[in-house]
């Protein structure tokens, strides 16, 4: 079983973050692997956002690599997670 650590960068009042959260929730349920999703509030932990060079939310980093800024398509997000699971 593969392992993935997903950081979802968010902030209070972020309009598009709930859509990404929902997608991630669905995909973690669907993929059954060892997937951890952490929501990182960049207003509380600005250094976490800064290390990726992210200036807007939502953004998604998988295993330490920034993959998406904005709302990804479901299939793209799924593929990115699968790639990491198999890596």
């Amino acid at each position: 079983m593969g392992e993935v650590y997903i950081e979802m960068l968010t902030s209070p009042g972020c309009a598009n973050c709930p859509a990404v959260k929902k997608l991630l929730k669905e995909l973690t349920a669907e993929l059954k692997d060892d997937i951890t999703v952490e929501e990182v509030d960049i207003t509380v932990e600005p250094t976490r956002a800064a290390q990726y060079g992210v200036m807007s939310v939502p953004a998604v980093a998988i295993n330490g690599i920034l993959k998406f800024v904005g709302v990804p398509k479901r299939e793209e997000l799924k593929k990115a997670i699968m790639d990491e699971l198999e890596a």
Binding site: Y5, G64, L66, E84
Partner: protein
């Protein structure tokens, strides 16, 4: 993904009793040891101490660790300490994490919880972090060149000081000011405490030097409209609004001002206490000393007639056809020095500001007392132009309130004392001056002595916040009701002139600018520094710094200190001429 074995070391700091007193360290150690990838878990009384760091380094060598999780305090405080500690023994700084459990265990921490809950929270955070660091890969970085120039937004004393420091360090500075002249609020203060120096006199050498320095580009009557990019390479658009006067040709002779027949109420430079002509030079020491046409008041723009200024201008500088101009800049860093605005007290109906003509603000009083102001330095009350015999100042108007601005504006006590001294010593020695205060706060260098001097001049101090002002409709004199909290009795004070010591508030457009720059503002609307003690001028965006009253209420020396700090931070970031940045950041900015 690298197939190298991930060997994680967990190091739990007691922080004396700060952590050990609020969570079961042994339970946490045991929990750490069974996490996947953890090779060793140790505790230490003070991990940040020399001894603590060397024990981490020992463990790295002994167990061949390549991932470190230090369980201690706020990463903003000590992450760099442990990254350096690990790096010395070959651990990539990207693979050292510091997690904050102290916030749950330390007495006095707002997030403190009971020990069982703290253990629960710490376990969860630790498990998460160990997994994250085990799977984490190094964020790819690229080297980029930086622009050796800085955008400074706001031409008050802080912005001017930052610009001058930057050019001294060898950079080019673009100083953008919304108003037609630099100098900001300091130019309006007449005198400054605690030395009672003439404000324009000590400001002018700096503004004049900024104006003539070849490496400072002044963009007055201008606003920043967009900022894109990243530290080292910001792309900035500035909108320069038309002055309708050619800056290159205008000599500042002011013949146009003399001849212009139209007048308008001046809110910026006379603080609503006087008028200027439709074409005007804001004040005598304005920099640049160039005329500007107020479109709203100009007869040509409003009615299509006049053009007297054009007729008389000896330099042929009047240009009614001037259009707004968009200026593109590339800069390596941005310094925000947008200052403050005075609180509008008309919302406080009980004080009758705007309704009673003899109720003014301290900034208006400064203009009235100024020898270059509308009354040429005579203290005349607005209703009848007579000298007031009694003056009452009310402190904390719009500051230290339960509803509204909860903060202390830091300078009101001092500027009230200053104006009381000026009136007593130079203008109307016989006037009776009272100050109705909440607490007198004079903590700066030489400030307590200044307070004592003012008391020695015979100024009366009355502790209490007035609840109501009533105007005599005939004489326009004012009756002020206040409870003297020392004797616990309501008293009524007669005053010919009431002066409101109004709060400082974030200047107009702060919120929009914050959105433009993607930097944060705090709950009171000021720009937010990244750490209130240790990083007072840095923001959440690398390469963007704040200084002066844009960050919060402060006096001139503090604003200057911050301006110098901001310039120094920009210098530290840019001085190598190149910078390592996350690849994503550079790609995303280049794509947009």
């Amino acid at each position: 993904m690298s197939k190298e074995e991930k060997r994680v070391g967990v190091f739990i700091c007691h922080c004396g009793k700060n952590i050990a007193g609020g969570v079961d360290i042994n339970a946490l150690l045991e929990y750490a040891r069974q996490l996947k990838g953890v090779v060793v878990a140790e505790d230490n009384r003070f991990s940040c101490s020399e001894e603590g760091q060397s024990s981490i380094q020992e463990a790295v060598k002994q167990h061949n660790l390549n991932r470190l999780v230090v369980t201690a305090c706020d990463p903003a405080l000590h992450l760099a300490t442990f990254q350096r500690c690990g790096e010395q023994v070959g651990v990539n700084p990207a693979f050292t994490e510091l997690i904050d459990v102290r916030k749950w265990t330390m007495h006095g921490s707002p997030q403190k919880v009971d020990p069982a809950q703290a253990l629960e929270n710490s376990k969860r955070l630790m498990a998460q972090t160990v997994k994250r660091i085990r799977l984490k890969r190094v964020i790819p970085k690229v080297e980029v060149k930086v622009e050796p120039s800085v955008l400074v937004i706001g031409g008050g004393i802080a912005g001017v000081e930052a610009s001058l420091d930057l050019v001294d360090k060898g950079y080019k500075a673009y100083l953008v000011e919304r108003l037609p002249t630099i100098g900001g609020k300091m130019a309006l203060l007449y005198k400054v405490f605690p030395t009672n120096d003439c404000a324009p006199c000590i400001l002018a050498p700096k503004t004049a030097y900024a104006n003539m320095h070849t490496n400072i580009t002044l963009l007055t009557n201008s606003e920043v409209t967009s900022v894109k990019g990243y530290v080292g390479n910001f792309k900035v658009n500035v909108l320069k609004r038309p002055r309708f006067v050619d800056e290159k040709k205008c000599t500042g002779c002011a013949i146009c001002v003399e001849k212009c027949p139209a007048k308008a109420l001046d809110n910026e430079f006379l603080a609503g206490t006087g008028q200027h002509k439709a074409v005007y030079i804001p004040f005598p020491q304005a920099i640049p000393r160039k005329a500007i046409i107020d479109k709203e008041a100009c007869l040509y723009f409003q009615k299509g007639v006049c053009k007297v200024c054009e007729k008389f201008c000896p330099a042929d500088a009047i240009d009614f056809e001037q259009k707004p101009e968009n200026i593109e800049l590339r800069v390596g860093a941005v310094i925000v020095a947008t200052g403050f605005k005075e609180y509008d007290p008309s919302a406080k109906k009980e004080y009758g500001y705007g309704q009673y003509s003899n109720v003014v603000t301290q900034l208006q009083l400064a203009r009235i007392l100024d020898i270059d102001g509308p009354t040429k330095g005579k203290l005349l009350r607005p209703s009848d132009g007579k000298e007031p015999k009694t003056v009452l100042m009310i402190q904390c108007v719009g500051s230290r309130e339960e509803k509204g601005n909860t903060y202390c504006s830091a300078v009101c006590c001092m500027y009230a004392l200053k104006h009381a001294q000026i009136i007593k010593e130079m203008v109307l020695p016989d006037a009776e001056i009272s100050i109705a205060y909440t607490d007198m706060r004079t903590p700066g260098k030489g400030f307590e002595e200044y307070y004592r001097q003012t008391r020695d001049l015979g100024v009366t101090f009355l502790r209490g916040k007035p609840s109501q002002i009533i105007e005599d409709p005939e004489t326009k004199n004012l009756l002020v009701r206040v409870e003297d909290t020392f004797i616990g009795q309501p008293v009524t004070v007669d005053a010919d002139l009431v002066v409101l010591s109004c709060a400082m508030e974030p200047s107009q457009g702060t919120k929009q600018l914050a959105e433009l720059l993607r930097i944060e503002i705090d709950k009171d609307g000021w720009f937010k520094e990244i750490h209130p003690k240790l990083k007072p001028v840095e923001t959440n965006i690398r390469g963007i710094y704040i200084c002066g009253c844009a960050q919060g209420p402060k006096d001139i020396p503090d604003a200057i200190v911050q301006a110098k700090a901001a310039a120094s931070c920009a210098d530290s970031e840019l001085r190598k001429g190149k910078i390592m940045l996350p690849e994503f950041m550079v790609k995303a900015a280049n794509a947009s």
